[in-house]
């Protein structure tokens, strides 16, 4: 099992993302996008393609846009090919914004981007822990998960979805994660449970096959128990909730 973790131009969560995959048993490599453009055939050696969080191009022209355009110009066909195989793709935070801008998720009409990531309703950068629940979704990334406690850290985490697309997303069961409140009920847009005002409390979307997951929260930052706020009150566990996402990737191939 091999994972390729993308880096370059302001992506900055590659080390901890690779580490999370390694902890569950993957072998992996951080590959700079320019090296991947030089030699796209190396994608054949990997089962998982991960775009980590960060600030590619400083979010200029919209988060994820510039990097998505670089991929579209130089690597688009190879990535489409990867996603059509029995392989997994994950985009976390800035990676999520890049996948959305590429149109790889939700990819209902399989062409131009159908969803946009826009600025948080608060107008502020939000770094905080949230609770999310798995929607009605068959993605291997989300198998056997009910809820997760994970951190978010973003300026543009609000999913903006045109009505007709939202309808298709629901019909096709593509909602990956949704923000919930203290009572485990949908946050219904209420801050800080829903940190960005995202429509239908959406925190993650998948494509129709479920092998591509675009999620705003950071599972790699909730890998160990000591990552969780006030973990001192419960020291019996080893792992945090983020671990489950990476385990699912492993279990998919084992």
């Amino acid at each position: 099992m091999n994972v390729l973790v993308l880096s370059g131009y302001g992506i900055n969560c590659e080390n901890e993302t690779l580490h999370a995959f390694e902890v569950v048993g993957f072998k992996g490599k951080i590959v700079h996008i320019n090296d991947l453009i030089q030699n796209p055939k190396q994608l054949n050696n990997y089962q998982v393609f991960a775009i980590p969080g960060g600030f590619s191009y400083g979010d200029d022209t919209g988060s994820g846009n510039a990097m998505a355009k670089k991929i579209m110009t130089n690597l688009y066909d190879q990535l489409i090919d990867f996603s059509s195989k029995d392989k997994l793709i994950i985009g976390i935070c800035n990676g999520c914004q890049i996948l959305i801008n590429l149109g790889l998720v939700p990819s209902i009409n399989k062409k131009d981007p159908e969803v946009a990531m826009i600025e948080n309703k608060s107008g502020n950068y939000e770094c905080r822990w949230v609770d999310v629940k798995v929607g009605n979704n068959k993605s291997p990334w989300l198998k056997n998960i009910n809820t997760l406690n994970l951190p978010v850290a973003h300026q543009e985490g609000q999913f903006m979805i045109p009505i007709n697309i939202l309808k298709s997303i629901k019909t096709n069961k593509l909602i990956g994660l949704q923000y919930i409140d203290d009572d485990k009920k949908l946050a219904r847009g209420k801050f800080p449970f829903n940190p960005n005002g995202s429509k239908d409390d959406i925190a993650a979307l998948t494509n129709q096959n479920g092998n591509v997951l675009a999620m705003m929260p950071h599972p790699e930052r909730a890998l160990y128990n000591y990552h969780i706020p006030d973990w001192q009150n419960n020291t019996s566990k080893k792992f945090g909730d983020g671990h489950k996402i990476f385990m699912n990737a492993k279990n998919y191939f084992v």
Binding site: S7, G8, Y9, G10, N12, C13, N15, E16, H19, A20, H32, N34, D35, G53, G54, F55, Y57, G58, D59, D60, T61, G62, N65, A66, K69, K70, T73, N74, N101, D112, P113, E114, V115, A116, I118, E119, N120, K121, G123, N124, Y125, E126, C127, R128, P151, A153, Q155, M160, P162, H218, E220, R221, L223, Y226, H227, P229, D230, Q232, N233, T235
Partner: protein
Amino acid sequence: MTNTIQILSIEKTGKESSLQKEHNNKSIKIIDGYFFSTNLDYQKFTKISKLISNDVSQTILTKKNVNKILSSYSKFNWVVEIKFLPGVTDNIATTVKEIIKDNLKSSFKSFELGSTKIILIKGRKEDITKISKNEANPLIQTIKIYPFKKYLNNFKKNQFKIEKVKLPKKKYSKKEINLDISDYHLSLIGKLGIEENDKSRRGTLGLDLESLKAIRNYFFTLKRKPTDVEIETLAQTWSEHCKHKIFSARIDDIQEGIFKKYIKGATEKIIQLRKDNFCVSLFTDNAGGIEFNKDWIICHKVETHNTPSALDPFGGAITGIVGVNRDCLGFGKGAKPIANTYAYYLADPNKKYQLYRQKNKDPMLPANFIAKGVISGVRVGGNCSGIPTPQGNVYFDDRFAGKPLVFCGTVGIIPKKIKGKLSHKKKANPGDIILMAGGRVGKDGIHGATFSSEELDPNSPVSAVQIGDPITQKKMSDVIIRELRDENLYSSITDNGAGGLSSSIGEMAKESGGFIVNIEKVPLKYNGLYPWEIWISESQERMTLAIPPANVKKVIKRFNARGVEATIIGKFIKKEKAIVKYNKIEILNLDMEFLHDGYPKLNLKTSFPKIKKEKKKVIKKSSLIDKLHKLLSSPNIVSKEFIATQYDHEVQATSIVKPLQGEGRIFGNATAIKPLFDDEKSIALSQAAYPQYAETNPYDMAGCSIDTAFKNLIVSGANSKKIAILDNFCWCSSDEPERLYQLKEAAKACYDYAVAYQTPFISGKDSMFNDFKGFDKNGKSVKISIPPTLLISSIGIVDKISYLTKITPSDDDILIVLGNTLNELEDSVYSKIIGYEHSKNPVVDSKVALRTYKNFEKANKLGIINSAIGIDLGGLGIAVTKMAIASKKGLIIDLKLKNKISVDQFLFSETQSRIVVSLKKNKLANFKKIFKISDYTIIGKCTGSDVIEFKDSKKIIRGKISDFANSYKQNIKGL
């Protein structure tokens, strides 16, 4: 054909909402504009628009649709167009250019573009003017206000313009300066700069008469006149900012100066006593280094960026944080930045100070503009660089109205050995190539080093402001840390900060002997810079490397492959000469010894200050609960959560004790990160400063700062033998004997307390003239000096995860205060908010304090302590209330008054070296085995209810936790 692309968000953006709320105007819309230097045909317009916008969320404005689309939002009537002045870093434009070039390849070669923010409103001209004042800074941006009709007209007639840097294309001829002139004219050169042929002046050199005379004498012996480049270089190198002349000056009877005697002296004494490997690299490098574990070193550095932040708060602060990141990159062979810290000392953002640098003109920026700009500058700098920012604080006082203090710090990590060689040792060898990597050079920050050493006055230069570009730096930093360092491809490295190349190369050349630089090789942002400008420019995002010739090709190739420029600009030589050439003409040739040591040493005298303090004996009558609420909601105690949530403190997945603690989210005194996945050791970070105590007793003020910074790490669980500290002195009027007396006293305390606690100083920085000289709104001349401020930053190692403490007590825990409470309300938050009471200032007894800390450490390791919080601003009352808010569990506090103190004194005195701990009942016996009965007081217990109760001998006073939480979480007015 069009020369602009303008993009509109279909839905209301977060920024628009906050603007609308702030200005109470529902009709505000923001357009992202790009102005091109050439016209775009339809095909290019369509293609580029698609590249830089989003079909789903945005609309592209065209000549045809602009009227219709905009009128669907509102009947706009005023417009403000904000764009960067020519030559100011425009990061968005850089990105857009890169996307276009990558996509259109060679089909679209030469073009310029600038990014623009266009704000439309329905309202009056006064409204748009007010908005523009809050959204733009005239020092770095052009602000054009005009009617909406004209905007439409501009659109139709292609009348949007970008301004390019226009510099005279004169052929350079070597300029020699005659110093054989009167003292008066000599001092004019120092104060106003070198005179150009047209009689204008270049801007301050910050050189005093004595220094200029030393330069004159040096060139007299050489039998030639100095060049302009030589004088500029000496001004940079000898600046207070670079040489710390006051700290190294003879002061009264201290021949060696206060740095050598008290700061370095303390560390040397400690090393002599400790005999361990804790201190690795001190004072000599860009940051100070200590041992983390057997394989790794960590380094820490804290810088100030005060004057630039006063002029351009966002630019000043972002440059401050990315600049100190480079200090880590320039530590040893290059440490990876793993945490940022911040501390802001600001004027009240809710007040209007109305200060002017010149009579009735050139106003200081409003206090809330400065506060917001500084906070967002560090946010963008830290977040975009992927470096967590867990630790910081903010403090407000009117005396920062003339100059804000902006402290930015970074922690880095580096393996002890790289390919078998010690990583903290570096040496540029003769023959090594000088390589400049990263960004290009422009007029940014010319004279930054010389002017930050001076008071802020009308002659402060505009070009002294730089804006950092964290993405360019991130790209460069990744190549250095991941692809060059661990193969030992370079022999030395340092960053380009104050003084630019003149400073970085000048410093590195000490390792080899000297240098020869061909300054025309330096890549420029735009043509027309003079050689002296290139040499001292403070353009950001650049590192200077010394590379053995055999590795040069490989190194340049690796930089280029990641989209980073790297250029050979000269070589290091053995001969102790500093030589700069411009197209083969020698424009600088100095002896290295004179360059670094030729400046005249100061001889300073101090005198005991007459304290001019207003003493009012007014105590406003109110209940205890009322007083608690007032203190909790006062700006210096209230939660700083709104900053913590804006700063990514989770990136790198190292955050283990977070800035917001407990379910009730208390803004903690210390935070911790666990930097390595395979070692359970963590790094605890804290900081402290007490400017409010400084005028009463600067010695005790410094003692309190060191004690608090040390205590906070002890409380977090750090090993008392593995704590190091950093000193950042921000002083005022350091040419006045009274201020120098305070400085000497504070430095003396640094020695005494550091040696007592055995905590070495590993790095430090000073900024000596934080004064504002100008005018008030009536045109009356005013001088505002900051209170002397000593920020002590502490960094310590927590050996085991289980030693990390929490601040949340559990049900039935016993509450104990460690340390005795004295009547020390002088200069406290209580005396400021509730009313002044004649009292004493807090004094640290290091023996008692150390006993408390050692016992705490022992008890914590044995698992006796369940929760703990250090007592600081607002005293015991605030500390226990914070515990209750954090845990959402009620407490009952028994007001046992010892030492004849009153209830108010017991609760709000700021006596130092105290800790509140909670423990399970069954641990009390073990606790008593460790602590002497006179060292602690049992004050109550955790009830788990929803109220805090204070029990007097007669009555019980109650308050709901949720009410206290509301007070503690109030917004700071003006922010």
